[in-house]
């Protein structure tokens, strides 16, 4: 039998922690294509992920989960669309300590939601930082619907990454239940 592959997309603004997130839970080191960044605003980090972060979690011979991190810059939109195709769901990472990126996070979220109406969760990353916003405040800043899950996250802590991924999977189950009821 052929191995079934399913995918979850990890998105969010530049520097939110996507690469770190994928790396924390993946069996293989994410394939990174780092490249120098030109614009001033992006000098915050020496390099950025131009291709995508790619992680894998093997369930067994028949089933593999792929995690795809999106490149954080909007000029790669066309790749997002391809990524979004057929995904089980997506995770939006937000850098809780950088409110200047919240607007961008919201717009990324809306873009993905329009690409594919799959379940998603929002992970408030970098909760270990002292100036991280609290979840309740973040929820208001991001204008999140009350029924959307917002989860605390520290991307280099595997347990926390696991929790985010599991919550997304629970949301997917809930959605299947809902669909069943509506028939």
């Amino acid at each position: 039998m052929q191995t079934k592959t399913v995918k979850v997309v990890v998105t969010g603004p530049f520097n939110a922690g996507k690469t770190e997130f994928v790396r924390a839970i993946s069996e293989i080191t994410p394939v990174l294509t780092e490249r120098g960044i030109s614009s001033e605003a992006e000098r915050i980090k020496e390099t950025t992920t131009v291709a995508m972060d790619f992680g894998r979690i093997t369930v067994d011979d028949d089933l593999v989960l792929y995690l795809f991190g999106t490149p954080g810059q909007r000029r790669f939109d066309f790749m997002w669309e391809i990524l979004a195709e057929g995904m089980l769901g997506f995770i939006v990472l937000v850098d809780s300590a950088r409110p200047e990126t919240f607007r961008e996070a919201l717009s990324i979220l809306e873009t993905f939601r329009a690409y594919a109406p799959t379940p998603y969760v929002v992970a408030a990353n970098k909760q270990d930082l002292s100036d991280a916003w609290e979840l309740d405040d973040l929820r208001i800043a991001l204008r999140l619907d009350p029924d959307i899950k917002m989860l605390p996250c520290v991307a280099h802590d595997r347990e926390s990454v696991k929790n985010v991924l599991l919550e997304l999977l629970y949301s997917i189950l809930e959605e299947i239940d809902l669909e069943e009821q509506s028939q």
Binding site: V59, D60, L88, I176
Partner: protein
Amino acid sequence: MKGNLKDFSGTQILNLVSLAKRTGTLDVRRNGTQASLSFQDGKLIYAAMDDDDGSLASVLARDGRITREQASVLAKRARKIGDKQLGLLLIQKGYLTRADIIRSIKKHSAAIVKQFASWQEGAFAFDPGRLPGDDRITVPLDLENIIIEIARVQKRDEQLEEEIPSLDVSLRFVDRPTVKLQDLKLSRDEWRVMKYIKPENTIRMIANRLNMSDRQIRRVVGSLREAGLIELVRVRPRERLTPEQRKEKRAIVHRLIDRIQGIGVAE
């Protein structure tokens, strides 16, 4: 020369008449709309479409130089003395100058010929030798520039169809527009469309709401997009799973949950 615009486009006909310096009148009929274009030596000299019959009164009214009421009074007058006499009268009385009249007529002819060029179908017939009555004012208009402009508009419409292949997508405002809204001169149609831009509205829904044709809405969306104000967002319909597919998906998700719960525990 007879045919249908389906096989021979309006621009092609205009090109031919202009290049071959033909004289005569082209009549075109499309769904109850009738257009007549008269040419002399390849130049457009008279244009009429339905109520915009090319008479001086209707041309001046359409250009906003006189009111509709004034136009109907003048039209009555013209029936007796003819457009040429009427024009002279208006000039003598100091209501309008000769240049005003020529400008209005040229504007009228250009507008009609552009409208004609946008028709995709319609029976046409060219009647050589037939020209408007002697009492009519004819103003020769070079077709070259108009043809070039029509071709440009058509090319743009074709490009827009490629850029916006489907109207079943929605629109959104870009995060950081490179232009300031107050620096842009938006048309009335553009403002109307802007009002309906939100994720749940597809372009088609907006067009229907505003009673715009596919071509019109594409033009508006195209220019807003070119101005860097909006971008397209594709919407995929939610897939409807069959009960078997749902069962399979549920099983997959359960297996993923088990696996991920085990990470760092069983290893």
